[in-house]
């Protein structure tokens, strides 16, 4: 009887822990919506708050306001939110399946490959045929990022697909793509070079609804499968062999997780260029908040990434008034000190 009572209290405690984590995830969702609104409300054209809200709600407002809100600010703000979510979810899954807290899409050469693809379009004019010219750079970046991760998987399989091998191949891939990128920069014209440098800094300025729709579709396709794999990914935190003894097909788990990572990272990079840090920081902050039970960890990572990039988008408009800083710079310059403070604070606690 005593045992029963003790079991009940432990059970109650576990359930309340679950509720607390779910509440944290919900709070992050609210924060993401708030960050989105803040992002929409800020901008160089100082629109009255009431007009902006009215335009969002579809009410009658001046035509100029309508255009600024719906065609300029909203696609940029939603893109920031979705790209942050995609990069952080990709980072979270990658850190788990590669058993390495430093893994994120960019450590494995995805960004370099995407930049190389963009450079092919910008410098040499090599693009996918039959696509509208406006999509050339993005399509190239997307395809090369996907190709990089596909190559990585193939190379990994040659040597049994263990995490260390994948990371080593990824780093080699990163350097190869970076070297080829440098080569293209070396031969590029001044105009092309400037365009390329701007692209590699990461920018939301060119966001359009079509791009937003693409990222949204990729997220919608990946999230259900990631959540379905949550318990298996949690088991993998006990190591490859333990997870296998629990009945997890770790090879298939790793393969499909990396397919999702490829789509998410390639989609994000191809739309906005190189934005580091979010794929690393999102999962770390989420882990501090909700632990490593992936039922909570995956959504928390995704939402943290969304909040971080959304706030960065707002900051990119406010740091230097009248100037839109490349968002890749903002995440690194403002985000990193905050991230370090969080980690150091967490250590001393």
């Amino acid at each position: 009887m005593v045992g029963d009572a003790r079991e009940m209290t432990a059970l109650a405690r576990y359930r309340s822990l679950g509720r607390r984590r779910a509440a944290l995830v919900a709070a992050l969702a609210v924060a993401a919506v708030a960050a989105l609104l803040l992002d929409i409300l800020t901008g160089p054209a100082s629109l009255p708050l009431a007009d902006t809200v009215a335009a969002l709600l579809g009410q009658e407002v001046p035509r100029g306001t309508q255009v600024i809100v719906w065609q300029v600010r909203l696609p940029v703000a939603v893109m920031a939110l979705l790209v942050g979510a995609a990069l952080a979810l990709a980072g979270a899954e990658m850190q788990t399946v590669l058993e390495n807290p430093l893994a994120e899409p960019f450590t494995l050469g995805v960004s370099s490959a995407a930049a190389l693809g963009a450079a092919l379009a910008i410098v040499l004019g090599v693009t996918v045929p039959f696509l509208p010219p406006a999509w050339g750079v993005s399509a190239n970046a997307f395809l090369l990022a996907l190709a990089a991760l596909a190559l990585l998987q193939m190379l990994g399989r040659l040597r049994g697909g263990g995490p260390e091998m994948l990371i080593l191949f990824g780093i080699a891939l990163n350097f190869t793509a970076a070297a080829l990128l440098s080569l293209l920069q070396f031969v590029a014209s001044a105009d092309a070079l400037q365009q390329l440098v701007f692209w590699t800094m990461g920018s939301l300025a060119a966001s359009r609804w079509e791009g937003v729709a693409l990222i949204a579709m990729i997220l919608a396709a990946c999230i259900p499968f990631a959540i379905r794999a949550a318990w298996r990914l949690t088991a993998l935190r006990m190591g490859e062999e333990q997870a296998r003894s629990f009945g997890v097909d770790t090879r298939a788990l790793r393969r499909w997780a990396l397919v999702r990572v490829s789509l998410l990272a390639a989609g994000a990079v191809s739309m906005v260029g190189v934005i580091g840090f979010v794929g690393l920081a999102g999962p770390h902050i989420a882990r501090m908040l909700v632990g490593e039970d992936h039922r909570f960890f995956l959504p928390a990572s995704l939402l943290t990434g969304a909040v971080v990039l959304s706030l960065a988008s707002t900051a990119s408009k406010l740091v230097v008034p009248g100037v839109l800083l490349p968002i890749g710079l903002v995440t690194s310059l403002i985000g990193l000190p905050i991230f370090f403070a969080l980690i150091l604070g967490g250590r001393t606690r």
Partner: protein, 254 residues
Amino acid sequence: MILSVQGITVRYGKRLVLDALSLPDLGPGLTVLAGPNAAGKSTLLRAIANLAAHSGRVMLDGVDLGRQPPAKRAATLGFMPQALPSGSSLIVLESVIAALRASGEAPRADEAALAVLERLGIEALAFRRLDQLSGGQRQMVGLAQALVRGPQVLLLDEPTSALDLAYQTRLLTELRRQADEGRIVIAVLHDLSLAAQWADRIAVIADGRLHSTGTPAEVLTREMLASVYRVDARVETCGRGRTVILVDAEYRGG
């Protein structure tokens, strides 16, 4: 229930670790795998658990376990590794629940996980993080993860290597109980006095082959210790019929 282990061969690169090793058919009970370091004991255990690439067959009541889908095999086989990785911040309770739910839906998984922790006397650790436990505590959690699915066959790789006397006794009592309830328990143990006290059978592995097998009294002989371990030792019986092995010196004979 009969576990049959036949013709297991394992190579690491070019090195032959297990050479077509077969065990006599094992029924319910506690079997200890003994033998010198690098003899292939842990590799044999991992081959039976299908965690090491091998040729040969492992059959339970005529069913080839190597051909079963992973989730189904996990319901039959429990495996306890020598150590759990130390880098995870999962809490103990959710790690045991994950051991149950990783292979699919499990009704009342939370209750089952807590019950196992209670039975092993480590319910006080339920909300501690894995990376904040001692090696011995993590080893007990590894046992809980192996037991939680209620497997018919339990495989344990040096389960007492990091345990103090109290945990050691608790673990061996639990293994004895599992064996007495009709399960097949196979553990790699280095302490032969412990093996003599707790095991029904001992199988001695040397150089990737089965050297000898039988009851502790049949296997633990001065001759076996000299030929397998190269030590000069006495096998003595002390109070209540317990066997102890007293090592006198390194074996210098031919």
